[in-house]
Symmetry: C2
Subunit: 339 residues, 2 copies
DNA sequence: CTGAAAGCGCTTACAG
DNA sequence: CTGAAAGCGCTTACAG
């Protein structure tokens, strides 16, 4: 561990010929403690000169508080607008004097790391970034009363209110688009992980189809992921594309979207393309490449800001204001229509 | 700030009828302190049951240490294999019991945030992730003796040894490729930011050309970025492509690479493509899209691990072992040769 | 308006 | 083999 002898309040007090208490009052601008203006200025000047900042550990211990929050981003670093979300969180936390600590990925089913961080007073709560509807098991957190906030396509949620519907709404927009343009043969490409299927998006799509386009011809094509190998996805995709005719592909995440587009383009490059394609992910990349992949826009920055505020409210046991977010379907080149 | 009354060593001591000191010895497995096996087991069991972990602030204060390191990723979230680098750092830090704290981006020229974190004993040093040869001004860190490690295409560096040459070497590979295949008309597309040009990559390319392909016809095309607007890049790119004939484009980063490819493909889709194209960035995306963009492979995970170890050595003032990394040129579809 | 002193939870040199 | 006590740097109730 690092040893670096710092300047303490005592040093400042000595140099300014006041007590440690007065230094604390001035530096923290403590209410109800009036210090003569001369002393105040002298103390502030000295603190600035000597780079004095109150020792965070001492403060935390004395006040019996913790002003860090853990961040878990389950494989989302390379995905979506992770940076935007993070910037949003960071902004709210900076304003509140909170600090963000990176926790590991999800390869820790018992949440040992979270428990250790929480009970050693290293973090006061956890923010998850979990797009692509990863299923987060929050039971350990609930049992241990560890505050958490969850950021996903659906918006921001916690254990105080129901998951929101941002994603459900934009799925409905996608299905409406299919309906309005008579793209009736719809294929949803998704994954299972070691045989385990994630139902979240499928259920929403299914519901939207039932409500908005019951006469459509819908199928789900599942690629099973075992070794995190692209071929596990592209081989069944290519086979399906070769042997079946359909109107529009819907892909479940950015990676699937890119691979689908790869398969389609290899079969022949043409715009408008067949089949059409919507990728249910939000990422600048999808829109930067050519042809632009029709995909989602999720207010990631705003969601980050709100998640941080929600987290703070949970920690301080303050009233919570529920907020909703809307996703948008962005039409790129892959949903370009024939004239 | 959060108030959560935790279990302390005192509680464990009371429950096991031993002193606080003994609890500390057992929990920390302190050397040279032999505790009877019965008591040891009892204490460990109780600690586990009650979720006791030593308060990190108290420990840090008592030991006059700091076991957090700050992480700065200047706009690299959405770029390159940020996740891989981070996983590498995290791995080394977990093993060493260190914690990773997220700092803000670069919009803080005076490094106020770092100073505050450092002098309040919140971090013991800083790791920068700075790809795309962003220029990092480390003067404030040097003056304040704040340990830092820098992760970039060139490898990992600090103030104890010269920047490494991983990137220089791979640039030479690119130029050799041009030479061997008589791609003599080489155009390098890069940016300036508000008129300020970054020379790093250019200098390396220029040097490699001079050494390996002096008879080539080389030009640099600079797009000035002011509003972070894609058109600032695509408009000059398209104009150049329309009015000039050349053999190979080299783009300076992922964003430029995607936009260049976009412009080329809009002019007509064909493989092998003209002009050829190498993007000087490392990212799974570049290889996932079609046509695959010939680009770099940088050992990001390994560099993250090493940066963390280097950081720890700097903090502990231990001897430093310099390590080198190699980048690879990965040929995708955009350097496919005519038969 | 200002200061002396207690105490947050821990580790560790010291005493027994 | 085990414990009593000091002290890390801070804030804050209390006294003056």
């Amino acid at each position: 561990m690092s040893r670096h002898q710092g300047i303490t309040a005592k040093d400042i007090a000595l140099a300014c010929d006041v007590s440690q208490a007065t230094v604390s009052y001035v530096v923290n601008n403590t209410e109800g403690k009036r210090v003569s203006e001369a002393k105040r200025q002298q103390i502030l000047k000295m603190a600035e000169e000597l780079n004095y900042f109150p020792n965070r550990s001492a403060k935390s211990m004395r006040q019996q508080t913790c002003s860090s929050v853990g961040l878990i981003c389950g494989n989302n670093y390379d995905n979506t607008g992770f940076g935007d979300t993070l910037r949003g969180i960071k902004k709210s936390f900076d304003e509140a004097g909170y600090t963000l600590t990176i926790l590991s990925d999800f390869n820790d089913p018992e949440r040992k790391e979270i428990l250790r961080y929480f009970y050693s007073n290293s973090i006061a709560g956890v923010i998850y970034i979990a797009f692509d509807t990863q299923v987060i098991d929050t039971s350990v957190l609930d049992v241990n009363h560890i505050p958490y906030a969850l950021i996903s396509e659906n918006g921001v949620s916690c254990n105080r209110f129901e998951p929101q519907k941002a994603f459900e709404n934009v799925i409905r927009d996608c299905i409406s688009f299919c309906h309005d343009n008579r793209l009736s043969r719809i294929r949803y490409f998704t994954r299972s992980i070691n045989g385990r299927i994630l139902h979240n998006k499928y259920d929403l799509i299914y519901k939207a189809l039932h409500d908005l386009y019951p006469e459509s011809d819908f199928q789900r094509i599942i690629c099973d992921i075992r070794k995190k190998n692209d071929e596990e996805i592209t081989v069944p995709m290519e086979r399906y594309l070769k042997n079946h005719d359909f109107d529009i592909a819907i892909t479940a995440n950015q990676h699937f979207g890119l691979l689908m587009q790869n398969c389609i383009l290899k079969n022949g490059f043409a715009l408008p393309q067949r089949p059409k394609h919507i990728c249910l992910a939000s990422s600048p990349f999808l829109l930067t490449i050519y042809p632009q992949i029709s995909s989602l826009k999720i207010p990631l920055y705003e969601m980050g800001c709100y998640a941080a505020e929600l987290m703070l409210a949970l920690i301080h046991e303050e009233p919570i204001e529920e907020r909703h977010f809307e996703c948008q379907l962005i039409h790129g080149d892959t949903t370009l229509l024939e004239d």
